[in-house]
Symmetry: D2
Subunit: 90 residues, 4 copies
């Protein structure tokens, strides 16, 4: 499957899930059930990020590392270290 | 502000953010930028869950602990321990 | 099992694990293996926190909610909301 | 600073912190204070993993991507995607 298509399919599913949660809150459903659904949305978003990164490593990173520009290479590797560090905080 | 209104406002903001990310992907924006926006959405969802739990502790939990039913009390406290444990995993 | 004993047993196991990781690094083991072991230690610490909170809800929180002091009750519930919010960030 | 030296320094500091937490529990300190210290240890471990990964990207990954072996290259990039996905769950 095309990279963007897989990401779009995942994000649209998450968006449907999120709109379902909004309806739950509008109808006054039990707050713990709402928190559990929000946690399920977060797990799906983590999975989506991981898939995006996986393909990024395979394409952009490979290109940058093989390319002749050391500054570009450093920038691309630094970005990955930053999203890794951030991923533990959300 | 009313409990549900605050939660709804937060979730609708997250939903707008998420639809913005879908547009980013449709337009082929850089994948690291997409991951960073997904991480921002996750941080906003964490904040929303924490606010919901805070009010839950103040209302349902207080009612359950003061009420005469030990099984109901145990159930309510158990639920909180479970969402806490889950919160570290998403 | 006594509360403190269970917590101490878990923390001492984590400490043994962590000292094993230090030896791995001293011996120059592969860095991805080190990261995976660090992630296992973090998972064990999450589990330990969850168990501590579970018993706290059962004892201190129940006492505070039933007690006559509304400021103390508010303080105890606030603390739980704070550790919950923090738990998503580490 | 040498890679391993920085990692060892960080892990030994975490270990000292963890042994301090064990003493807190032995002395019966308040459980919320214990949870907060455990969360601080987890934050320090996250930081340590991020630093290890950063240097790994700079050395092993660059070598693997530039090397002539496509299976080795795929393996190294796959590992990074896996620790990234795991990092959101601990």
């Amino acid at each position: 499957m095309d990279t963007n298509e897989d990401t779009l399919r995942r994000l649209r599913t998450v968006d449907g899930h999120l709109r379902g949660i909004i309806r739950m809150v509008e109808q006054g459903e039990y707050c713990i059930a709402v928190i559990q659904q929000i946690q399920a949305v977060e797990a799906a978003l983590n999975k989506t990020s991981a898939r995006i990164l996986e393909r990024h490593l395979d394409s952009c990173v490979t290109t940058a590392v093989r390319g002749g520009d050391p500054i570009e290479r450093e920038r691309v590797l630094q970005e990955i270290a930053e999203v890794f560090e951030m991923s533990s905080k959300v």
